[in-house]
Symmetry: C2
Amino acid sequence: MMKVRPVEKSPGVNLYEQVANRIQSLIEERTLQPGDRIPSVRKMHDQMNVSISTVLEAYRLLEDRGLIAARPQSGYYVRQTLPFSPQEPTPSTPPGLACRVDTSFAVRINTALREPGMIKLGAAVPDPELFPINALNRLMGQVLRQNPELCHSYNALPGCEPLRHEVARRLMDAGCSVTPDQILVVNGTTEAMYLSLRAITKPGDTVAIESPSYYGLLEILESLHLKVLELPTHPRDGISLPDLEKAFSRGQVAACAVVSNFSNPLGSCMDDARKKELVELLERYDIPLVEDDVYGELGFGESRPKAIKAFDRRGLVLYCASCSKTLSPGLRVGWAVPGRYQNQVEQLKLSTNIVTATANQLTIAAFLANGGYDRHLRNLRRSYAEQVLRMTQAICEYFPEETKVTRPTGGHVLWVELPLDLDAIALYDEAYRHRISIAPGSMFSASGNYRNCFRLNCGLVWSPQVEAAMKTLGGLIENQVSEQTRSRPLFLA
Amino acid sequence: MMKVRPVEKSPGVNLYEQVANRIQSLIEERTLQPGDRIPSVRKMHDQMNVSISTVLEAYRLLEDRGLIAARPQSGYYVRQTLPFSPQEPTPSTPPGLACRVDTSFAVRINTALREPGMIKLGAAVPDPELFPINALNRLMGQVLRQNPELCHSYNALPGCEPLRHEVARRLMDAGCSVTPDQILVVNGTTEAMYLSLRAITKPGDTVAIESPSYYGLLEILESLHLKVLELPTHPRDGISLPDLEKAFSRGQVAACAVVSNFSNPLGSCMDDARKKELVELLERYDIPLVEDDVYGELGFGESRPKAIKAFDRRGLVLYCASCSKTLSPGLRVGWAVPGRYQNQVEQLKLSTNIVTATANQLTIAAFLANGGYDRHLRNLRRSYAEQVLRMTQAICEYFPEETKVTRPTGGHVLWVELPLDLDAIALYDEAYRHRISIAPGSMFSASGNYRNCFRLNCGLVWSPQVEAAMKTLGGLIENQVSEQTRSRPLFLA
């Protein structure tokens, strides 16, 4: 019977997380194989000399990570995981030149991504099944009954107090100590980003961004007549700070915009040290940053990562988030913490659409206050972790072996990199004919890079349809591969 | 017993409207005095040789206009109307120069206008009492129950079909034949105006507007770094077309923006001939116009005035409206018909906040479809007509005789012009100390005009509090007058 070394307490990481990591590495090294029964809680407690409850916590965490599953009356087993673990994409190396944005391509695709009757592997849209719809509707009914006049009147800027209060409370988990007065309620993260970028730039300015970067951000930048500087980005650690500093020191950029946690599309998550370093850079060069943290609460680990805003002492970080990935995109409720730019952002909100719908704000506030948000979030994170795992498994099974894919530790998107000579746009067109949508890599670049990449949405609950779609997709890629080979001129063979 | 001449049918005007106008003029000439019983329906039918139903229609219209009231078992009586009819303000004559906008003053005031615990005679906010809140809440509950997933998902641009269908149907009353596909759903009229102006201008452009002009519009123009050309405007007929043509022919302006019906703040309403002429101007010079028609359904007459859009054949008019003055500002639902600029406006909507909340759209759609909108609108128009009348009466009673005030034929705002040496900003400060808010005239001008004017909101249901506020306001004005007199140097006396 396999013996597991005791863990020696190391600071920073919770003990149960250390235990979980130890077991995970055993699974990754195939010491524990899929289907194996893992040592009972009591055994593990003896072997690692940690408390029973610590072992239970660790097992729960491993369940969250989709690595083990409990079988009633029989203990925990290693789940069917990856037949081989696919390579990660290499860090990006975009051309270091500021350029105008043209999203006409992204727009055409994006429209198609939202078409009904498609299997939506393109748009990063969560499955409505995963949202607490009944609870939200019940709460909205209460809100309407309890505040009839309020719900049908303008609320005053910066938005309804109960929501701002709850958001401030939640932001403490992200390491931010902000008061409700510092929070502005808006219509979703996009509006938060849009108003923030508008407040800190003027047409013609250049904004430093990750590469690849969320096409929604590119659309905002284009609509504001801004140029972008796409910077090298690591699939795990995010934007390259040395390159960012270079851009700062050359006075190339007026602002920057990043997704801090479980970014879209790479899934990268900066660690605290890099977040701190980033903020120091902002302070040294006095350059503002727009932080998109819409995925921040969707980590597969136990503790929510800090926001960049947590390290911001001079109000240079404009924090943006919403409930669109956790509770309901349809209610269109989000928030911004614009730091020293609060007045400008509020004034822009006023002249853009005055305020956000009252009942919608109060409904989200009510759910955060007493709708069992933590329990819901726990299940949601577990589902996303599971779906990301299943999609990765499907990639291993159905896609060519050279396929590279990211290993996000949160969120619900995967970034897939195909061999260089494959064309994800052609693949998109093929898939579209099969009523499957994917998001071609070129959508995520202002300079038309990543033609051989695409983003996969793992927001859908795993189902035979989704698996079939992945299989079809794999087949379409294989076809391209074989065509490529056929079409290669002989003298090159 | 007074005899009423028969009416001879004149084309264009409904017969019952002619009858009503005839009786109204008898009231205005004091032939029929307040408290007088007006001839019975049967008498009137004989005297004017029109059908009984026509007379009834006419009386209903006069009731709507707040001129007569029915007493059970005793017939119709002339209501207490104006002790004297106050002078109208003269058409405005702003300086004919394009200028930058600075709304910092308006912003400061506007914030105060929305403070709780104030008697809101400043902000043009309707009394929530006037909205069908219970019906809306019931419908929203149904909408949530019947479309649980849809309500919590993104809807696709240009917005939910049921709402666009109802809006298209309603726009027929405004003389517009538009299809649902030509309508874009947004968050209120402000967003419609904002996106429209953004689509047709670039920073530095000049936009021709009415003077005085709604401060919300000025805030939008400022936020887009646009200059404004304030044009002479008639308190009844609206913007001066000759001056507009002059500006067009000199190539001074890139676009214009007007409130077509029952404008805010003047209450002016262009007649069809002028609307047609305006559109011909736009076509001749190929200049787009943003039409704010948020008050279009709030006329005191029987038939809804046409929109400028009704005469638009080349898609140069970007039509904007919402349900914020008729059903609920709190739901934040509005719409735009951007004509030939539809793609640009939709793209801007996408990058500003993607789409408008789904449940909110479907709730308004449900009310328009089967919530008894017409009945509601009828009562609402009657209330506004009555409140405008009562406010005017209070002005006659409590304000100095030199006071001039507009005679809007719809909407719920009055524009008050005081003698030139009075200061409405000082008055605002005084009133504020008495917890009464008014909107000083300077808010409605980019060039700081109208310091002796202010706007009164008649959206509040008439009450002793409102009357007391008007009395206080009158007192404060009288104080200023007497101070002025005292402070006049002797040699001028």
